[in-house]
C-alpha cells in the first residue's frame, strides 16, 4: 500500500548521483552501451552525444592545444583569459559546428578573441574535440581530493578520553578500528554515526545493539522489546520470544520510552567543532 517514498529533500542529491552515473557511462563506455544496446531502452537524464570519430578528436586536440588552450584551458574548462567552453550555452546547443564555427572564424573581437581561419575539415575536428567532453557537475576522474587526515591525533585522543571513553575503548571495541576501512571518509562517517557510510565500497559491518522500547501500560505493567515502528499513534515492538505487540499511544497511557544506542552520537552532532571531528578521526586512524 505504501510505496517507497521519493524524498524530495534529497532532490538534488539524487539528481547528481544519477548525473554521476550517466556521465561515467557516457564518458567511459558510451561506445559499449551504444554497441551492445542498439535496440534496448536507455536512461537519458541529459542529452548525450554519440561518440565522435577518435581520429578526428585527436586531430582536433592538436589544433586546440596550439590555438585555444592558452585562453580556454587544456580541459576546455577555462583559463586565465577565456571562459569555460564546457558549460558554454553555445557549445552545449551546438550540434555539428553550426554555432561554434561562426564564432571561431569570426572571433569575438570585442572580448579579445581573434579570428581563426580553419578549413572546414579543421573546424569539424575542433568541434569533435569540444564535443568529446561531458558537461556535468560530477566528473569521477576529478574526485581525488587529498587525504582527509588533517587533524591532530594527540588532541583527538584527549577529546576521545573526555567524551567517548565511557562507552568505547581503543583496546576493546575499537581495537583495529582503522584497519577495517579502505576509505578515510567511511572511517570518519562511521564513528560520527554508524551506518552513515559514504560512497564506494560497502562499509564494514558494525554490530550495533538494536533500538529498544519500554511501554508502561495503565496497569503499571511494563512491556519491553525491539522497536519495530513508531509514529504519533501506535508503537510496535518484538518481545524476546519473538511475539509482535503493538499499542495505541494517543491517550495519556501508555508511557513510551525509547532506548536508542546511538542517541549519544546524535546528541554530540550539536556539540562538535569541525576541528574536534578532524582530530578524533586522526586519532582513530592510528588504531590499526
Amino acid at each position: 500500500m505504501a510505496p517507497t517514498v521519493k524524498d524530495d529533500g534529497q532532490r538534488r542529491t539524487r539528481g547528481t548521483r544519477r548525473t554521476n552515473i550517466v556521465s561515467a557511462i557516457s564518458a567511459c563506455s558510451a561506445l559499449i552501451v551504444v554497441t551492445l544496446m542498439p535496440l534496448a531502452a536507455q536512461r537519458r537524464d541529459f542529452p548525450t552525444r554519440p561518440p565522435g570519430d577518435p581520429a578526428a578528436i585527436e586531430r582536433g586536440r592538436a589544433l586546440y592545444s596550439v590555438n585555444c588552450t592558452f585562453c580556454h584551458g587544456a580541459d576546455i574548462r577555462g583559463g586565465d583569459s577565456g571562459p569555460s567552453l564546457l558549460r558554454s550555452a553555445m557549445v552545449l546547443d551546438d550540434q555539428n559546428g553550426e554555432l561554434i564555427g561562426p564564432v571561431v572564424r569570426g572571433g569575438r573581437v570585442d572580448r579579445g578573441m581573434p579570428k581563426f581561419s580553419f578549413t572546414d575539415e579543421q573546424l569539424q575536428d575542433v568541434v569533435a574535440f569540444l564535443h568529446s567532453f561531458t558537461a556535468a557537475g560530477y566528473d569521477v576522474s576529478r574526485m581525488k581530493p587529498p587525504s582527509i587526515l588533517v587533524g591532530d591525533a594527540v588532541a583527538g585522543e584527549a577529546f576521545f578520553r573526555r567524551t567517548c571513553a565511557s562507552c568505547h575503548s581503543p583496546t576493546g571495541d575499537l581495537r583495529g578500528y582503522a584497519a577495517k576501512f579502505a576509505d578515510e571518509k567511511q572511517l570518519q562517517q562511521t564513528w560520527l554515526l554508524p551506518g552513515s557510510g559514504g560512497r564506494g565500497a560497502a562499509p564494514p559491518r558494525i554490530d550495533l545493539p538494536p533500538t529498544t522500547v519500554t511501554v508502561t501500560l495503565a496497569s503499571g505493567q511494563k512491556v519491553e522489546g525491539v522497536l519495530d515502528r513508531i509514529d504519533d499513534f501506535v508503537v510496535s515492538l518484538t518481545e524476546k520470544d519473538g511475539t509482535h505487540r503493538s499499542f495505541r499511544t494517543t491517550g495519556a497511557a501508555p508511557k513510551v520510552e525509547i532506548h536508542d544506542p546511538l542517541q549519544p552520537h546524535k546528541d554530540l552532532l550539536r556539540a562538535y567543532s569541525d576541528a574536534d571531528i578532524h582530530n578524533v578521526t586522526a586519532y582513530l586512524a592510528t588504531l590499526k
Partner: protein
C-alpha cells in the same frame, strides 16, 4: 484515441447526458466521461481571482499561496468521522503502440473500462524513466473534475468517485524526472511542463493536445517541473537546471504559446542590475537562480512574487566572486504586464549549499504593528523565516526556525539577512553542517490561516558532512566539487510561526522510526483544521491553534500537499501517495 473515436464520443455525450441508466462497460466509460464534460463549464480566468473555496483552480488554490480553504463542512467538531470516499490508482506509461498501460484497471470493479491513453511527445519512446510514478504537485479541481499530473503524464479524474476520464502521456527525450508540480488552467485549456523542456497545452475536456512549445534548451541540461501559473492572458512558466545556466521565468500567450516576455534571475548583459555582485558577466550568465516553483500573485499591484534558486556553481563559489550573486536565492516581484522586476529581497546572499529560495511565498493582508499591511511571508530552505512588505520588498521580520542550522553567523546583518560563515561551506576533511542538502524546508508548500494568524511550514532538522573534492581554483560545475554525506539523524516537524515576530508558536515533532524523511505540504481550512502528511505514512489533521492531533489515516507516505474541494454539496479532502489518490469525506 483517434479523431474518429473522439467525434463519436462527443455525439454520444449528448445522449449520455439525457440517459440516466448505464450500459455496457466500454460504452459507459466513454459516456460517463463525456457526461461530465457536458457539465464542465470553461474556467473563466477571472475566477482565478476568487479566494480558495469549492474549486481548486491554480497551484496554490488561489493566488495568495495561503492554501487556506473557506470550506467548513469538514471541521474540528466532525473531523473524527472523516472517512474514505474513494481510492484511485493512476495508470502509468502505455505499452508500445500507445494503448494499455495499466495492470488492474483503477476503474476496475466499478463497471468502467479505461479510456485509451493519448500519446504525444518528441521522444523516440526508448528512454527508461526509472523514477516511480508519483504525484508530487498540486491537483486542480474544477467543476467536478480533477486534473492530476506527474512527469510526462496528465490525467482527468472524476472528483466524486475517482474514475479516469482521460490520460495523456508525453514520450520524453529525457531529463530529470524528479517531479511535476501541477497543471495550469485557462478557459478550456490545460498547460503542463515536461522534463525535456516543453510546455504542452491540452484541451481539458478531452485531453487532446493543442500544441507544444520548447521553453528551454534540453542540450543545456534544463529540466522543467514547475506548475504553470495563469494570470490574465499570461501563462507564467519557470524551469530548472543543475548545471551552470541562467534561471528565468517566461510569460507565454495562453492561446498560442507565443513568448510575451522573459525575465532572467541573473544579469545577462553588461550594465544589468546586480552585475556588480558577480566576479564577471560570464559568471553571472552561468549563475543559476532557477525559478522552479510557482509564485503568488497580487492583483492590485500586478506583481507576481516568486522565489529564485541557488547560484551556480553551487558549492565551489570562488568563480562567482565574493559578492551577493543577485538575484539568486531571493524573493522577486515581477510586473506580469512587463516582465520587469519591481523589487527583490535576497534571503541567502552568496549561498554555498544549493539551498534555493524557490519556496512559494504566501501573500497576507494583516495587521503589523497597528497598521494593516500587504505582506509576503516565506520560510526559506536555508532555515530562516521572513516577513516582507509585498509592495516595496521592505524587510520587516527575520528569524531562524531551525534549532540546528549552523551555516550562518549568529547575528543577522542590518537588512535582516543571515550572514554566511565560510568555515561551514565545506572542508577537505569535512565540515559538519546543518541542514543536509534537502534544507530546513523544501518545495512542499506552507499555509497561512487568517483565523490563527499563523504560518504553517513543514520543517526538518538534519546534519551532513560536506567534503570539498574539487581543488582546482576554477571550481566545479553545477552541484559538483563536493561530496555531501548525510548523517541519518534528521527530525521532522510541523512548525507554526507568528508572522508578526517570527517566533515559533508551536512546533510538533513527529515521532517516527523512519530516518531522513521530509514532511509533506500543508493545507488549512476555515473548519479550523490543518492537514499534512507525517514522516511515518499518515495523513494527519491538527488543530491549527495549538498543534493537537485530531485525526489520522495510515494511507502511506503522502507525496504532495493535501487539498480540499466541494462537489454537489460534499467536501472532499484528497492526498496523493505516489501513484494513488485517496479522497476522504463525511457521510451525514
Amino acid at each position: 484515441m483517434s479523431t474518429a473515436e473522439i467525434a463519436k464520443g462527443a455525439k454520444g455525450a449528448k445522449k449520455a447526458a439525457r440517459t440516466a441508466g448505464r450500459k455496457a462497460a466500454r460504452t459507459v466509460a466513454v459516456f460517463a466521461a463525456f457526461a461530465s464534460f457536458a457539465a464542465f463549464a470553461p474556467l473563466d480566468p477571472a475566477s482565478l481571482l476568487k479566494p480558495l473555496g469549492e474549486d481548486w483552480t491554480s497551484y496554490s488554490g488561489d493566488y495568495t499561496g495561503r492554501r487556506y480553504s473557506a470550506l467548513t463542512q469538514i471541521n474540528q467538531s466532525n473531523v473524527k468521522q472523516l472517512t474514505l470516499a474513494w481510492v484511485s490508482k493512476l495508470p502509468g506509461a502505455p505499452a508500445a503502440g500507445g494503448r494499455g498501460g495499466r495492470g488492474a484497471a483503477p476503474g476496475g470493479g466499478r463497471g468502467g473500462a479505461a479510456p485509451a491513453t493519448i500519446v504525444g511527445g518528441e521522444g523516440t519512446g526508448d528512454v527508461v524513466v526509472a523514477d516511480a510514478l508519483s504525484v508530487k504537485g498540486s491537483i486542480l479541481a474544477v467543476n467536478g473534475v480533477l486534473y492530476v499530473s506527474a512527469p510526462d503524464h496528465a490525467w482527468a479524474i472524476d472528483a466524486q468517485d475517482g474514475h479516469e476520464i482521460w490520460h495523456y502521456f508525453w514520450k520524453t527525450k529525457g531529463g530529470t524526472h524528479i517531479g511535476n508540480r501541477g497543471l495550469g488552467l485557462w478557459n478550456n485549456y490545460l498547460y503542463m511542463e515536461t522534463p525535456d523542456d516543453y510546455l504542452v497545452s491540452l484541451d481539458a475536456r478531452t485531453g487532446r493536445e493543442r500544441w507544444h512549445k520548447e521553453i528551454a534548451s534540453f542540450a543545456q541540461q534544463y529540466f522543467s517541473t514547475t506548475a504553470p501559473v495563469v494570470v490574465g492572458n499570461h501563462v507564467l512558466v519557470g524551469t530548472g537546471n543543475d548545471l551552470d545556466a541562467p534561471g528565468f521565468l517566461q510569460s507565454l500567450d495562453p492561446e498560442t504559446g507565443e513568448l510575451q516576455w522573459k525575465f532572467y534571475s541573473v544579469p545577462m548583459n553588461p550594465g544589468d542590475p546586480g552585475v556588480e555582485t558577480w566576479k564577471s558577466l560570464d559568471a553571472a550568465r552561468h549563475g543559476g537562480g532557477q525559478m522552479w516553483l510557482p509564485g503568488s500573485y497580487d492583483p492590485e499591484t500586478h506583481l507576481y512574487i516568486v522565489g529564485t534558486g541557488n547560484p551556480t556553481p553551487a558549492y565551489t563559489s570562488a568563480p562567482r566572486g565574493e559578492g551577493d550573486n543577485l538575484f539568486t536565492c531571493a524573493i522577486v516581484a515581477i510586473n506580469v504586464d512587463t516582465g520587469k522586476m519591481a523589487w527583490y529581497y535576497q534571503t541567502s546572499p552568496h549561498d554555498t549549499h544549493d539551498w534555493d529560495s524557490a519556496q512559494t511565498p504566501v501573500l497576507v493582508d494583516a495587521d503589523f504593528k497597528g497598521n494593516r499591511r500587504k505582506l509576503v511571508l516565506t520560510a526559506s530552505r536555508n532555515g530562516y523565516y521572513f516577513t516582507l512588505d509585498r509592495t516595496t520588498g521592505e524587510h520587516l521580520v527575520s528569524s531562524k526556525f531551525s534549532e540546528t542550522v549552523n551555516w550562518a553567523k549568529p547575528e543577522l546583518n542590518k537588512l535582516g539577512q543571515p550572514v554566511r560563515n565560510p568555515e561551514k561551506d565545506y572542508h577537505i576533511a569535512g565540515a559538519l553542517v546543518s541542514s543536509a542538502n534537502g534544507g530546513a524546508t523544501n518545495w512542499p508548500p506552507p499555509a497561512f490561516s487568517p483565523d490563527t494568524g499563523l504560518f504553517y511550514v513543514p520543517t526538518v532538522e538534519s546534519y551532513a558532512m560536506y567534503y570539498l573534492t574539487e581543488t582546482d581554483p576554477r571550481g566545479a560545475m553545477g552541484l559538483g566539487g563536493k561530496e555531501e554525506i548525510g548523517l541519518g539523524a534528521s527530525t521532522t516537524y510541523m512548525t507554526a510561526i507568528d508572522y508578526k515576530t517570527g517566533n515559533i508558536v508551536w512546533k510538533h515533532k513527529f515521532r517516527t522510526a523512519a530516518s531522513a524523511r521530509s514532511a509533506t505540504g500543508v493545507l488549512t481550512t476555515a473548519g479550523r483544521l490543518l492537514f499534512g502528511g507525517d514522516p511515518s505514512g499518515n495523513l494527519v489533521a491538527f488543530d491549527p491553534a495549538n498543534g493537537t492531533l485530531l485525526w489520522h489515516a495510515a494511507i502511506g507516505q503522502v507525496t504532495n500537499a493535501p487539498q480540499t474541494y466541494m462537489v454537489d454539496g460534499r467536501q472532499y479532502v484528497i492526498a496523493a501517495v505516489g501513484d494513488t489518490l485517496y479522497a476522504f469525506a463525511l457521510y451525514q
